[in-house]
């Protein structure tokens, strides 16, 4: 007899992927180990220490996601695909995130528009390390609309372009972005907590999970709400937002 569910909609959290590819197109891969997130198939957690039903309370197994987009930034070592993922099944809730038994991305953001040398090389290097460890194969070229479209068609989730200069959280090494990041930190201090971008990211995360059933049923309003949340996040991440007209 199974226990009654606590939630009827998935938990949503932020996480990162590196971009690999197989014979059919681009592939999302966990950052450090070659765990590929198969398209249109839920990822299921396994535990090498032998937990029967990962995640368990006393172990650290499971599929991770953070509550705040800002929290993900500290774990980025290379340009990456960032997105909001659904978590369900057995879920261990933490004060800053979750680890769960099953996961699948809900919304993805692919960095585009960067022609500076080094950034894409870093992306390719990270993907190579993650995906093609011990294997050989071609890597994707520069990220762009082609990759965004391919990811969207393959995974069946909305994929948005995230201009590289908007990656205030994700690319601390880039000059313009470093300034944006510093500004966001200052805002956070002044506001005594969350920044506007973090708030927009939180709203998007909740809409992505809460509106899933409605979107699946073809509710145009739910799709519009998600698009609006995405636009607000992209606007909030913009390094130099235009002044608000009064």
């Amino acid at each position: 007899m199974s226990e009654a569910p606590d939630l009827a909609s998935p938990v949503a959290g932020w996480r990162l992927w590196h971009l690999g590819q197989d014979h059919d197109g681009p592939l999302l891969v966990s950052p450090l180990r070659p765990l590929a997130w198969s398209p249109r198939r839920a990822v299921t957690a396994t535990c090498p220490t032998g937990c029967r039903e990962p995640p368990t309370w006393h172990c650290t197994c499971g599929l991770y996601a953070a509550a705040d987009l800002d929290a993900v930034a500290g774990y980025v070592g290379a340009p990456a695909v960032v997105g909001c993922t659904a978590l369900w099944g057995r879920v261990v809730e933490g004060t800053a995130g979750w680890r769960a038994a099953r996961a699948y991305p809900l919304v993805l953001f692919v960095p585009v528009g960067d022609t500076r040398p080094g950034v894409l090389d870093a992306m390719a290097s990270a993907s190579r390390r993650a995906v093609f460890r011990g294997r050989t194969g071609p890597l994707l070229g520069p990220l762009g609309d082609d990759v965004r479209q391919a990811l969207g068609e393959r995974y069946g989730v909305p994929v948005h372009a995230l201009p590289i200069e908007h990656l205030g959280f994700l690319h601390p090494g880039v000059g313009a972005v470093r300034r944006a990041r510093r500004r966001l930190r200052t805002d956070a201090t002044v506001a005594g907590g969350r920044t506007r971008a973090v708030g927009a990211a939180d709203a998007l995360r909740q809409e992505a999970a809460g509106g899933l059933a409605a979107r699946r049923l073809g509710d145009r309003d739910a799709e519009r709400r998600l698009d609006t949340a995405v636009e607000r996040l992209l606007s909030a991440l913009r390094p130099d937002p235009p002044p608000i007209a009064v």
């Binding site: 909609s9 950052p31 765990l35 839920a42 870093a122």
Partner: protein, 84 residues
């Protein structure tokens, strides 16, 4: 050279920096609060639900009443010596 910050952390704690042994990555989810059983009413995986296909459930059977013929009519048990 990009180095993942978690690569320098070998130990894990329940409330601090925890490791994803499934994926080998580290992400801080804070202090563990509770365990949830989450069962979404729709599958988060696209095409996981098939609205145009009915659920594979058994055909409804008539209520098993004594006169519907779907259940055996109960019989009164024979009294035994212990009942007397």
């Amino acid at each position: 050279m990009f180095t993942h910050p978690s690569e320098s952390h070998a130990t894990t704690t329940a409330g601090g920096l925890v490791g994803d042994r499934t994926e080998g990555e580290r992400m801080n989810i804070g202090e563990q609060v509770r365990i949830l059983n989450v069962e979404p009413i729709v599958d988060p995986v696209p095409d996981g639900d098939f609205p145009d296909r009915f659920a594979d459930v058994p055909a409804p059977a008539p209520r098993p009443t004594p006169r519907s013929g779907t259940a055996d009519e109960p019989t009164r048990p024979e009294p035994t010596a212990a009942d007397a």
